[in-house]
Symmetry: C2
Amino acid sequence: MTAPLDGIKVLDLTRYQSGPACTVLLADLGADVIKVEGPGRGDPGRNVFPVPGEDINPYFLAMNRGKRGITVDYHSARGREVLHRLGGHCDVVAENFRPGAAEALGLGYEDFKRHNPKIVYASISAFGERGPMARQAGFDIHGQAVGGLMSTTGGEGGAFPVGAAIGDQMAGLTMVTGILSALLVRERQGIGQRVAVSLYSAQLALQTWEIGYHAMSGGTPAKAGHSHPIIHAAGVIWGSYPTSDGHIALGVLGETQWVNLLRVIGMPEEANKGSGMMRDASHLEDKIRERLSKQSTAHWLKTLQAEDIHVGRVNSYADILEDPQAWENDYLVRVRHPNGRSYNLVGCPIQYSQTPPDIGNAAPELGEHTGEVLGEFGYDEKEVEALRKAGVI
Amino acid sequence: MTAPLDGIKVLDLTRYQSGPACTVLLADLGADVIKVEGPGRGDPGRNVFPVPGEDINPYFLAMNRGKRGITVDYHSARGREVLHRLGGHCDVVAENFRPGAAEALGLGYEDFKRHNPKIVYASISAFGERGPMARQAGFDIHGQAVGGLMSTTGGEGGAFPVGAAIGDQMAGLTMVTGILSALLVRERQGIGQRVAVSLYSAQLALQTWEIGYHAMSGGTPAKAGHSHPIIHAAGVIWGSYPTSDGHIALGVLGETQWVNLLRVIGMPEEANKGSGMMRDASHLEDKIRERLSKQSTAHWLKTLQAEDIHVGRVNSYADILEDPQAWENDYLVRVRHPNGRSYNLVGCPIQYSQTPPDIGNAAPELGEHTGEVLGEFGYDEKEVEALRKAGVI
């Protein structure tokens, strides 16, 4: 059994997070991802947010494991030539430079297309390539702001980003869809093309219902607080609830679950009244909250699950890293590093019955595979040596 | 030019959000998505969270536009037979029933595979199909809780879900990747298979860096508050900042941007000190916040952009719905409904140079295309009539 993208070659010009988050999933799925970095310095993602006392950078590791790494000075004409030659034999080129920068470097779609008409060329921008913001660059936090999620998340007192860098991450994952669909087009219709996503578009894709709702209703959604802006406003029991030692999440949409919940938490008089789905439960919310706070999370998980009431524990990262559910489904993986140590990371979110993912090991050292990769693409030892001497690779 | 998935047929057994969010994107990409609902009642998503005074449900519209709809009683043997016959000529079957329910209904992978060995069968569960929670069902909110994001988002005072139903939405978008990669395998290797994702796996996929970081560092991340747990703890200026009339987002990673920011907001003495990237700016944060609060959002957008400092406005949904940037990139689309009205919705997040998406119009009425679809799959009028009389369709 081979991995899903076995035989697909990706020339990866991306750096930081949005692009690498895309190509690392392609690598998990079996693609040969060749990460290109400038000689000497490399992807700035190698150095951001280190863990004190550790020499391995978890940001770079999470975004680049399973890739091969080469150095090419893409500011030089000879470096550009090397990349064009490599791109001539790749299936995909991916970039997340500032808008216009790839073209200025001679690394735009048209440049690669000339060498390889069927290339799939994938670009990630901050806000989209048309419109008044087309030339603006932005990081994760700017995508989250412009994308609207910051305006509805959290309680009163400001604008709250999500607790992880999902602006970048979502753009990368959305680009995976763009690349896979374009590869499918290439297989079925025989054509290559350029695909583009942005931090902005990927954020909106997370909120299709909520934005559609407010396009219809007008007005501004309430803050989510401990619930969801629309669902909570509809009077549904939905959100996080403190227990005596943590938090659980409840979302009660079914009639049976509603009646059972009230009975189990000791509100039989309310349970006996029955319920229609979607009935306004807001007048009972404080009481439900108070009842739940009297017992432990473990108690409620056991008791509510026994009654087939949907419930979830609010997991910390420490909880997740110890959760057998995450390990048994390969949602977490342990990767071996050449330094002899192993690291726990998030694995591939998709399971395949026939073509399982192929989770790579460490992220490449800067330039680790330069000679190897150039050799595979037809460079002889003399050429490689000359490029090295000239500082091109 | 055809859409990317032109010619791909999807038998869509999904309901509520996680499954429909997947298949609606497949429909945007040009697949013929045949949504199957039980006669009489249909997808419960038709009725949740209505807009007061509107007869069109925005939840159902956002999740199902561009699909065709048929009714089949999949609890009956004859209904099952109809679905097997349809599945025999489809490329994809998608379901998000409770774990085990599809198999119990005779609608599992093995059932369809018997009729169509190359079928791609896609399942979404709450927490994954192996492990102690394999049989537990869950909604969006439970996926967000178990997936960890709720523990890091927002300020003090509890566990904060994200301000949109990204538990369901992410599972659906991740399943798009699962289906497209499996279709690519089918084209290249000639085999079908079953693919599976969960709300849990999709949430973890949003946090690969952050979870990897804490796997390495131990401990529990701080709450994100107005920033990001790890980036803020590293002393970087990163997050939402109040202006005199709204909020902007700043994320300062580059040295030049740092110095320019300090100069522009009137802290020249600090700017003159220069800066290394990633320097601890936390002692200046209150002062920066105070300076930014003195002027309007429009002022800061203009002033900071002029200095090439990355900045983004914290958009409300109303802002987004009026944003030319969103419209010019087709991130928002206007779809026509047979009722004569048009509705604004989020479009496809990906742009293609050769095979543009094909955004459908309205979501189907219950059973709207039953006769048409069955006819295309070889049922003659007499058969359709008999099934209708028997209450099977």
